[in-house]
Symmetry: C2
DNA sequence: GATTTTCTTTTACGCCCGTAAAGATTTGAA
DNA sequence: TTCAAATCTTTACGGGCGTAAAAGAAAATC
């Protein structure tokens, strides 16, 4: 016999439909003996409630939107993998969407999520280029927790890395072990972390009593490796680098920069035959395999994913939009490899 | 005034509800003047039909599932980006799910997609490790087009790369310009393309009258870079490479291998000071930035995404499950860079 | 202008399930 | 055993929309 709807399934399991409905909403909400009878029937008939009918009249669906700036960036791929897993474990359903680096797509994604009535949303926004009005409007309607990039006043909370701490860490390290670093970055970075990191660099250099060296190269958009390669090539072939130590604003820039150094025959690393030290920030999954392997600061992916997810689940379950927007920042860890 | 449902929106636009419903199902299905009136009202009231109510009674939803083996792999990230875009342009809604390299998650993903009643699914399966019974069962219920990895007898069609052609191309090139290559691969690759490539290598070498050299290193799972690095290090430090030219089964293995060569001080490339040539396969987004940059064969991402998407859209629109499962294979293009 | 064709309106029903309220039953503690 | 609390059943309604059929209106054809 083929079960067609909850009515029939309820009959087959010998439980009333409202109770079965309650079970599917939250298995713990029914008595143990009832739960067992339903689960026994489930084994026999493999029925699943109609997804659409189920969500139509629910005050809150069991869907949680996950919007990331750019899935092609392994950082976001990795963090959304963690988040998805946690959401599933909590009995919710993740809906993963990428903005592909475009503000319009980000706004579209939020708009489109709205029609799915998610119980909550985890948003890793574009940042500087986001349509911040649209984002704030969305956050007013749907409980949202931001991660990675902050947008002022948007969402219930922000979870990210403490750029002051992490940049401080690597600047300390670089200064301690050689020439103080110059800071290599794009002049128009899409991501607000870039600004925080720049300021953190300036502060750290100041604290250590060194004159800062900002190297701001023309560049916008998300093709970081390309920009790092192109501008690195230009700077090095013009001998325009102010120091022999370069701290890149993120690992993807550093990956391009290292590639440029290799092509130009400039040996990077710590050995006596090396002319350059290069460091990055993020511990991008590929940075272990650059040549030489990249010294960097690891962001605590798991802690970020974990905290952001717990935060949104808590808001959903208590129904309380917390008062006072909170910010959770995690420390980075120094990852010493061959490049600096 | 706030529009709460289609009834109210229909009233506000001066059109009957069934016609409005028809419009949302397919804007082209109503008269132009009617369409214009509805769209004028849309500007004023920004109403959107309830996603759940909308899909509940439709024979076919406007959702298309996109399931990929591993979103953390930039190949899948890139191809799913293309697919998503094409689906949106066609007026459908993509639902992106990653299996994260796990057969259980793949089966779960399909199961979970089923309850969403997708009009069709584009599946880039794990391949060898897939639960092929579950996949075939799914394909029986839901029109599915496979891409990247094939599973025999599953789905309406398969779209991928012609490994015979692409491997032939690079083997030809390598033989023409130096010592014939050895083929570097894992002994337990998760992906069936690996087997096809191995056979293509054997055939190409045979055709050119060279003795083949298979280097099968212990390795399973998806940590290709790690395996390439570890086993590359081992082989090179033991001087166990049979030739000075290595063709890796895919770019990610090559990335690890190149990193290992660098660490060991073995110069890779074409110069007279180089002791090794290394090539890959796929044109992975990162392969431009390896040291030296990686010579490889580019898969035609766009053509694969395009064909697979058009295929599923066609099946959906005509309602015909084509008879006779078709296979579409695209040629690779040689990408000559520094490593070989 | 008459006729055919195409599109729209009206009316009505059903999809599958969430939810509410009231009464019946079970459970667990006093 | 008694009684209150927890849980379940029954009954009933409604959500927002797809869809079908019949009748009406508009556009296209001649």
């Amino acid at each position: 016999m083929k079960i067609r709807n909850m009515e029939q399934f309820a009959a087959a399991s010998g439980i009333s439909r409202p109770t079965v409905s309650k079970y599917f909403n939250d298995p713990e909400s029914v008595r143990k003996s009832t739960r067992e009878r339903i689960e026994a029937a489930l084994e026999k008939f493999d029925y699943r409630p109609n997804f659409y009918a189920m969500n139509q009249n629910r005050r809150l669906t069991k869907n949680i939107g996950v919007v990331v700036a750019n899935l092609a960036d392994p950082f976001f791929a990795e963090i959304s993998r963690n988040i998805e897993q946690l959401i599933v474990e909590a009995g919710f359903r993740p809906i993963l969407v990428s903005s592909h680096g475009s503000p319009e797509e980000e706004a579209d994604a939020l708009d489109s999520l709205r029609s799915i009535k998610p119980a909550g949303v985890l948003l890793g926004p574009l940042g500087r280029t986001s349509d911040s009005e649209a984002v704030r409007a969305f956050c007013n309607d749907v409980p949202t927790v931001l991660f990675d990039s902050d947008i002022e006043g948007a969402g219930e909370a922000f979870v990210g890395s403490d750029n002051d701490q992490s940049i401080g860490l690597i600047v300390d390290y670089l200064c301690r072990t050689g020439e103080p670093p110059a800071f290599f970055e794009m002049d128009q970075p899409p991501n607000p972390n870039a600004f925080k990191r720049r300021n953190a660099y300036l502060a750290a250099m100041d604290r250590l009593g060194h004159a800062p060296n900002l190297v701001q190269v023309p560049g916008e958009g998300w093709d970081f490796e390309e920009i790092g390669f192109r501008e690195g090539t230009r700077l090095m072939s013009e001998n325009a680098l102010p120091t022999n130590t370069v701290l890149c604003s993120n690992d993807r820039l550093a990956i391009g920069f290292l590639s440029a150094a290799y092509e130009l025959g400039k040996k990077v690393g710590l050995g006596s035959d090396c002319v350059l030290r290069v460091a990055g920030h993020d511990d991008h999954p590929f940075s272990r395999y650059t040549c030489p392997s990249l010294t960097t600061v690891a962001q605590d992916y798991r802690a970020i994913a974990d905290t952001a997810t717990r935060k949104i689940l808590n808001i959903i379950e208590t129904g309380e939009r917390e008062e006072g927007r909170k910010t959770h920042l995690f420390d980075g860890k120094l990852v010493m490899r061959g490049s600096a």
